[in-house]
């Protein structure tokens, strides 16, 4: 969680939004939880939640003075927040960390046949 000292402007939807979960600004709704790392993930780093974990949604809280609070900041989330304020001092090094990583596809979780709760298409993996 961190204060981003910016007066936000409208965020554009990243071009590489995940087809199964278009951004549609879920990050700007009010809920508790973690960001499903989907949209605008330029590095293929994020292993995301899916609709099988509907309670997992990132939160951004915009305060009346223009401060933006965010938590569970994924690389994709960083890409989005970067558009809000590219010069934010807290965000900048994290953006660099996210973008300096190499692109590599994520592996899906294998099904555990002994465990019916472990899905074959994991909610914790990136397709």
């Amino acid at each position: 969680m961190k204060v981003l000292n910016t007066r936000p402007r409208a965020a554009r939807r990243p071009e590489a939004a995940h087809p199964d979960r278009p951004l549609a600004c879920p990050a700007f709704t009010s809920s508790q939880g973690a960001m499903p790392a989907t949209a605008g993930d330029p590095n293929g780093m994020a292993t995301s939640q899916t609709a099988e974990s509907p309670d997992l949604i990132a939160e951004v809280l915009i305060l009346p003075d223009g401060q933006v609070l965010a938590h569970n900041v994924t690389p994709a989330f960083t890409a989005l927040l970067h558009q809000v304020n590219p010069r934010d001092p807290w965000l900048m090094p994290r953006r660099i960390a996210a973008t300096s990583a190499r692109s590599r596809p994520q592996q899906a979780l294998a099904r555990d046949p002994t465990n019916p709760d472990c899905p074959s298409s994991s909610p914790l993996s990136r397709p």
């Binding site: 939880g33 960001m35 780093m45 939640q49 994290r94 960390a97 899905p119 993996s125």
Partner: protein
């Protein structure tokens, strides 16, 4: 990117963190402790509440956790301290505290939130994340130390070269901590409250100060330590001031992460002073107190 250099225990220098823990030994250690850790679940005493629940039989104590934890988050994140990111974060459900300001309380307090995932599967994801540029693997909660047996399995399954980070609220017992010795390169320990009255009122936790200080001292001896404090509105003097003073006096080499983005959410309406964000004056005073105690603040 290399980890910044700070004073820390021999063998745990940040610049050499990727090799600080003897990796094959780490796996062996974890496997060797598993039987003892599982036995602790028969009458759970892993945290100071010592509820005695037989988690192996499905009984639930204060935290509600049973023998096998669920995972409510597993993803690469960049919101943590700069020396740790990008990190592959794995969040286990269930917690032994009830902080009214918890921003992930819906998942963290509910041990049934998320999905049962086998350690090997998480390790596979972690390996892919590392290959994709993640620098560390962070295990968090809820509170991960209420799931020591699973942590041991997870550590044993993780890539041997991985830098492992344990993020804990510090409200644990010595026996549980000893089971985790030598397995994590970095301990991120929350020091949330500066006195037992605030700890009881805001998190319903008894004997907080003594327990968390024991955890902090232990972590400082056995791993790299990052102490986190979430600055709370109205609690600069009662909580941050004594936390900063104690850290400065007793753990002067510890890295301290002062979080100033207090989020007035979850159940804070029950606590009037927490209904608003921090003021700039509170943040400035907090930094002044950190400077006065010569704390090594990290971003």
């Amino acid at each position: 990117m290399s980890m910044p250099s700070v004073a820390c225990p021999p063998g745990h220098e940040p610049g050499a963190s990727a090799t600080a823990v003897d990796r094959p030994d780490r796996r062996t250690l974890a496997a060797a402790r598993l039987t003892r850790a599982r036995a602790a679940l028969a009458a759970c005493d892993l945290c100071p509440r010592r509820c005695g629940a037989n988690r192996l039989a499905g009984e639930r104590g204060f935290c509600g956790a049973v023998a096998r934890p669920r995972v409510h988050l597993a993803q690469v994140e960049v919101g943590d301290e700069l020396e740790l990111i990008p990190t592959f974060a794995v969040a286990l459900s269930g917690c032994n505290l009830r902080c009214v300001f918890c921003i992930t309380g819906a998942q963290s307090w509910n041990p049934d939130a998320g999905t049962v995932v086998e350690p090997a599967a998480l390790a596979g994801q972690a390996e892919a994340a590392l290959a994709g540029g993640a620098r560390t693997i962070t295990i968090l909660g809820g509170e991960p130390t209420i799931h020591v047996p699973f942590l041991l399995e997870l550590v044993a399954a993780m890539p041997p070269q991985a830098t492992l980070v344990l993020k804990t609220n510090g409200y644990g017992r010595a026996a549980g901590r000893r089971l985790l010795d030598g397995l994590f390169d970095v301990w991120c320990v929350d020091y949330k409250f500066g006195n037992d009255a605030c700890a009881w009122r805001l998190a319903g936790v008894p004997d907080y100060t003594a327990e968390v200080r024991a955890s902090l001292r232990h972590a400082a001896r056995h791993a790299q330590l990052i102490v986190r404090h979430l600055l709370m509105p109205g609690h600069v003097d009662c909580c941050w001031r004594p936390v900063a003073a104690w850290l400065g006096a007793h753990l002067p080499d510890a890295k301290v992460s002062l979080k100033t983005g207090f989020w007035p959410g979850w159940q804070v309406p029950h606590c009037p002073e927490l209904r608003q964000p921090l003021t700039p004056n509170e943040v400035a005073r907090a930094h002044a107190l950190a400077a006065k105690s010569a704390l090594k603040l990290v971003a």
